[in-house]
């Protein structure tokens, strides 16, 4: 695929920045590390043995009066801090990366460290941010213009080719706008046409990261504002699968439409995030079984961000999209690994839930994340409700099948 590179001046800036990123930042953090004495550890020290071990230990020997201690203690640890709500705030780092946002227990340590931190702030806000904003603006404008132009063409293989070119080029510009360094592993397993691509979800940037390496059909919610413009532009060039809000309640209809999309082997693979919401990239939550009932080949993808350079997690109950993007653009960088995994299909005698769990485990193992047995569900009006102890999120991630149909978009 022919790739149109950004113009030469920007290229130089990008190279300059890459040097800074790869050499300067680690140097800075290495300098800062010995200065920073108190590490931001978890709130509590836990007894890591799981409950099952305690229960089985109880059966293996004679009862003692002190047996209540174990359960009381485990219970109280859970009350004081539980594993699930931990996943809904940003991961705390053991050694500080000079971003106060990731260090909740920030304390004043020494004048030297403060000076280093101030330098860091100046570099991030005055040098990096304007560069990134410029790149982002260029990327988004090119994207909107490009897709509008391509959208004028009739459906043909030329249109598909051109839309791919536009997508890939603009995604790559946008990724550079976020100073993204992405390592792709096992590219031979990239999702093929006619399949469903399934990944763990941390932020809307996941979409950007995946589309830099290939085109997907989105199933998603339409946001207002900037995201809305981008989404409407996307739809013009490429057929995405959109549903009406009322249709969402009829799950059979949703599944039927997805099946139709997949049956046409020339259609792009569908991108779905089955967790249903953004998690902070330390674990994988329960997958919703909807996408696994369709019967298509599932291509799992694991995405793991390196928290040392910047926190990519979107806490949608705390930040809206624009302030989130601003935070991302004033971090050092977004460094992540993407692992493509061999395709999976549902086996004989396996139902959708078991299949979903199997895929979830595979992704967790590959990405080095832990697994949690709970997830999110839906209220009747489409907002999220907790299954487990999760807070109700007012925003829904683009991953969830929610819908907005206009008669213009739905052209089959």
């Amino acid at each position: 695929v022919v790739l149109i590179e950004p113009d030469f001046g920007l290229h130089i800036l990008f190279i300059f920045y890459s040097i800074m990123l790869h050499d300067f930042t680690p140097l800075l953090t290495a300098v800062a590390r010995p200065l920073f004495l108190k590490s931001a550890s978890c709130i509590i020290q836990r007894d890591e043995s799981p409950m099952e071990k305690g229960l089985s230990g109880l059966r293996g020997r004679d009862f003692e009066l002190s047996d209540v201690f174990y359960f009381s203690k485990k219970g109280l640890e859970a009350i004081v801090e539980d594993e699930v709500t931990q996943r809904f705030s940003s991961e705390e780092l053991v050694s500080w990366n000079l971003l106060t946002r990731t260090n909740v227990n920030f304390q004043y340590i020494s004048p030297r460290l403060t000076i280093v931190w101030v330098l860091g702030v100046i570099v991030r806000y005055c040098v990096l941010l304007p560069l990134r904003l410029t790149l982002a603006f260029i990327g988004i404008s090119l994207f909107v213009i490009g897709t509008t132009l391509v959208g004028q063409l009739p459906r043909s293989s030329l249109k598909n080719l051109l839309s791919e070119v536009v997508h890939l080029t603009c995604c790559r510009i946008c990724v550079r706008a976020l100073s993204g360094t992405i390592h792709y592993h096992n590219r031979q397993y990239r999702p093929q046409k006619g399949g469903i691509c399934v990944a763990n979800h941390t932020s809307p940037i996941d979409v950007l990261i995946l589309t830099t390496d290939g085109c997907y059909a989105m199933v998603g919610q339409v946001h207002g504002g900037l995201m809305g413009i981008i989404q409407r532009a996307m739809v013009k060039a490429c057929p995405h699968v959109w549903f009406e809000r009322s249709e969402m309640k009829d799950r059979h209809l949703v599944i039927k439409r997805l099946k139709e999309h997949i049956a046409d082997k020339k259609e792009l693979p569908i991108l779905i995030f089955p967790e249903g919401t953004c998690i902070n990239n330390t674990s994988v939550m329960m997958f919703k079984k909807g996408s696994f009932e369709i019967g298509a080949t599932i291509h799992p993808v694991a995405i793991k961000y390196n928290p040392q350079f910047g926190d990519a997690f979107w806490n949608s109950s705390k930040y809206n999209m624009v302030s989130y993007l601003l935070r991302v653009m004033t971090s050092w960088a977004i460094v992540c690994d993407v692992w493509y995994m061999p395709p999976m299909t549902r086996e004989e005698g396996e139902d959708a839930v078991q299949f979903a769990n199997r895929v979830k485990s595979a992704i967790a193992v590959q990405g080095g994340l832990t697994e949690l047995p709970c997830g999110v569900g839906f209220e009747g009006n489409g907002s999220l409700k907790a299954e487990g102890n999760l807070q109700t999120c007012s925003y829904l991630s683009p991953a969830v099948i929610i819908l907005k149909k206009t008669s213009k978009l739905d052209r089959k």
């Binding site: 709130i43 509590i44 020290q45 409950m51 099952e52 229960l55 109880l58 059966r59 004679d62 009862f63 003692e64 009066l65 002190s66 047996d67 209540v68 201690f69 174990y70 359960f71 009381s72 203690k73 485990k74 219970g75 109280l76 640890e77 859970a78 009350i79 004081v80 801090e81 539980d82 594993e83 699930v84 709500t85 047995p373 709970c374 907790a386 487990g388 102890n389 807070q391």
Partner: protein, 170 residues
């Protein structure tokens, strides 16, 4: 100060200001319907607590005024018993009250049976459990009244390093 509620100073516990603030935030998160108190349902909505056989007992011990819910004062006082700075006597008292269902200061045969039943579930038959309970009481009951008092309880349990086991760092 600011937009955070300030907590009454008369809740004297082993926690410093920082820890009380953290527990306060935690309490607010646990209190799903913002009623100012955490009910049994809200506690058991946590996945880790669903499997724990002693949830109801711990809540009952925390709930000193008996309204079935744990308000913030009871929460702080209750968790304070698990603090690193708590003394051994307090922790022994806590462990004792897990068994002492009617809070009369004695663990009777029936109370021990009920608490054991919660922990053991269906792994032992009732008659096996009753045998175990009878054996324990015979062993521990020094003054022959058929019940275990707090002194008899501490005599046995104290040697087991309570101060290490009943500790949660906040």
């Amino acid at each position: 100060m600011g937009n955070e509620a300030s907590y009454p100073a008369e809740i004297c516990s082993h926690f410093d200001e920082d820890e009380i603030k953290r527990l306060g935030k935690r309490f607010k998160k646990l209190d799903l319907d913002s009623s100012g108190a955490v009910s049994v349902k809200e506690f058991t909505s946590m996945p880790e607590l669903r499997e724990n056989p002693l949830v109801q007992r711990v809540i009952d011990v925390f709930d000193t005024d008996g309204d079935g819910q744990v308000d913030f004062r009871e929460f702080i006082l209750g968790t304070s018993q698990f603090s690193v700075r708590g003394d051994e006597q307090q922790k022994l008292r806590f462990a004792f009250s897990i068994y002492d269902l009617d809070r009369d200061g004695y663990i009777s045969n029936g109370e021990l049976f009920q608490v054991l039943k919660m922990m053991v579930g269906d792994s032992l038959k009732d008659w096996q459990l009753q045998q175990l309970v009878d054996k324990t009481i015979i062993l521990l009951d020094k003054d022959g009244d058929g019940k275990i008092s707090f002194q008899e309880f501490s005599a046995v349990v104290r040697s087991l390093e309570v101060h290490k086991h009943l500790v949660t760092v906040v």
